[in-house]
Symmetry: C2
């Protein structure tokens, strides 16, 4: 169990905390939903698939898979499939494929962004070279396509291919201005919807589709996945202001240093006259030497709390999309994942 | 009609050339097989698919598609499909997909190899930037997967995904030595089989498979496509010694300048004591300042003619794989493509 920041400040020994303020970890959720064995199969399959006749591909591929990550997208596929009629063998394929796609896009992102560390580990292009990183990404795309070859429902590969196209489109459309707020928000939500939410959406749709869901159910999972993905990214962007290197596996303030304009900054600029925020509003280029001061100014201006409010509202939209499903352990796990996404510290 | 190098030296006006020494162009073959309309559909589909909400992706994608190329792989899909029962709508999808895959791998190759020109045009990363080139390649991979989503035979996407994996593996296994010849040849044929022949093989197998071919027929087309692809690459490597920048769209001697060790050089080294060749045999690193002299030495040592002999024998193996198909216009076109591949000047 990870407690919220508020809870952390309290002495916990001997104190019985109210359940609703304790954020579930993903492990808790997976355990309660009895999903661990199924996710272990996904993990084993990823390791198997990454074997290659090419030694650098096999090595860098194994390295990438072993870096882990939360496997949240795979869990979403499996849980969404459980909302319908669940066949693990069939549901595992899009679960493996979405994690391979996600891994491919991270490796390529790190390559073009010159990112040196992710999840506390050296990135592929930094540990091997640019050529290997490019090729591992391409290889993982091919593995993902191969994984879906045996899937009889042609919608699944379409969901994933469309999502991969959308991720690419989002990758090339950064937020370029902080004012007017309406334009900044439009750019931010376009990019967030494309770069992050598209894969969440595809995972949830693929899950319910292999579970035999109706068109209405697929649409409900689309809304759930999309909104959950947007909220996930907002929290990610908040954590870049509030967390630290140990928790993130990369330095905090990274977005500001790289000139990436995110929601807390957009809101802070909209509701503050602090000179530092006025300046960044004008230039739309955070000064890398003033990152600690900018973080303080964004927090002081209420940028974080307004972004968190936004994330909460978006998660409520995600949850409302699930209203028509019967109450099962899988449904509860999807609700719990909403709480996890909002309250996660890493 | 393009005549062979030998023919070019002869006065041609008023001379009636024997048919067998005149190489058919790909346009001739396509016209005789009445394939032009079908390939035009493939081309239109590629243009349509490349449209994107992202302006740089749409622009760089259209630029890549308009660079054209021979569409030889698409022609192979369609002709192989015609060996069975031909349904253009169904066969067009793997034809489009193989060209998208091929284009993606070229864009990514040019990116990691820092190639500035291809087919006489500035490459994508040179005209836009590295980020756009990476993303256009990824986008084309996703488009190819999407194109195959509606294909009911799961083998097709497997053929293509396997080929994409093989291309990546070949990309990372260069020829590293020229002696002993056996090792150099093993490395050369592994790389050539992976980087070039895998897509030819996949194209031919996909074609006969959507044409409803038997397992034996798929295997025959596998051998045909693989061998044709190896021969195609050998001729490519020969042209880098014998052609010129106008014909190639890139400077001749490019491979030597970049340290890429190909079949003409391997054979030249094996059958000559010329000091320049001895030196490169020892270092396995051609001296970029001596490219013109190296080209002359390779030609003088008979490296070109032995590589050409090898290509001819491999093409014979390709042709023999077609022995059991009934004589049709499509079969004739596949035989003609063998001649085209051997005698092409660009």
């Amino acid at each position: 169990m990870v407690t919220t920041t508020l809870q952390r400040a309290l002495p916990t020994s001997g104190v019985s905390l109210p359940v609703q303020v304790v954020a579930p970890t993903l492990s808790d959720i997976i355990e309660r939903a009895a999903l661990a064995d199924d996710l272990a199969l996904v993990e084993r399959t990823m390791v198997e698939r990454t074997a290659s006749r090419s030694r650098p591909i096999a090595a860098a591929g194994a390295y990438t898979v072993s870096a882990g990550g939360k496997r949240l997208r795979a869990a979403l596929v499996l849980l969404a499939a459980r909302l319908g009629s669940y066949d693990l063998e069939r549901a595992a394929r899009p679960a493996v494929a979405i994690e391979l796609l996600h891994a491919a896009s991270l490796v390529h992102d790190d390559l073009v962004d010159h990112t040196l560390r992710r999840r506390g580990r050296v990135t592929v292009h930094a540990r091997w070279d640019r050529h290997v990183a490019l090729m591992v990404g391409d290889y993982f795309f091919a593995l993902a396509a191969n994984e879906l070859a045996a899937e009889p429902d042609p919608r699944i590969i379409r969901f994933y291919a469309d999502a991969a196209q959308t991720v690419v489109e989002g990758e090339l459309r950064p937020v370029t201005q902080l004012e007017p707020m309406s334009v900044a928000l439009e750019q931010y939500f376009y990019k967030t919807g494309a770069k992050t939410a598209a894969l969440f959406e595809a995972a949830c749709k693929a899950g319910i589709a292999v579970g035999g869901g109706t068109a209405e159910q697929v649409e409900a999972l689309e809304r759930f996945g999309y909104n959950l993905g947007v909220a996930f990214q907002i929290i990610d962007d908040i954590l870049d202001f509030t967390s630290n290197e140990t928790a993130l596996g990369k330095p905090a303030g990274n977005d500001l240093r790289e000139g990436t304009l995110t929601l807390p900054l957009i809101y802070a600029v909209a509701q503050s006259d602090a000179p530092l925020l006025r300046e960044v509003a004008r230039t739309a280029r955070p000064n890398p030497t003033q990152v600690p001061q900018l973080i303080e100014a964004v927090i002081a201006a209420g940028g974080i709390s307004r972004a968190l409010d936004e994330a909460r509202q978006i998660v409520q939209q995600a949850q409302s999309a699930l209203a028509h499903f019967p109450p099962t352990g899988a449904l509860q796990a999807l609700y719990d994942i909403c709480d996890f996404v909002l309250q996660r510290q890493v």
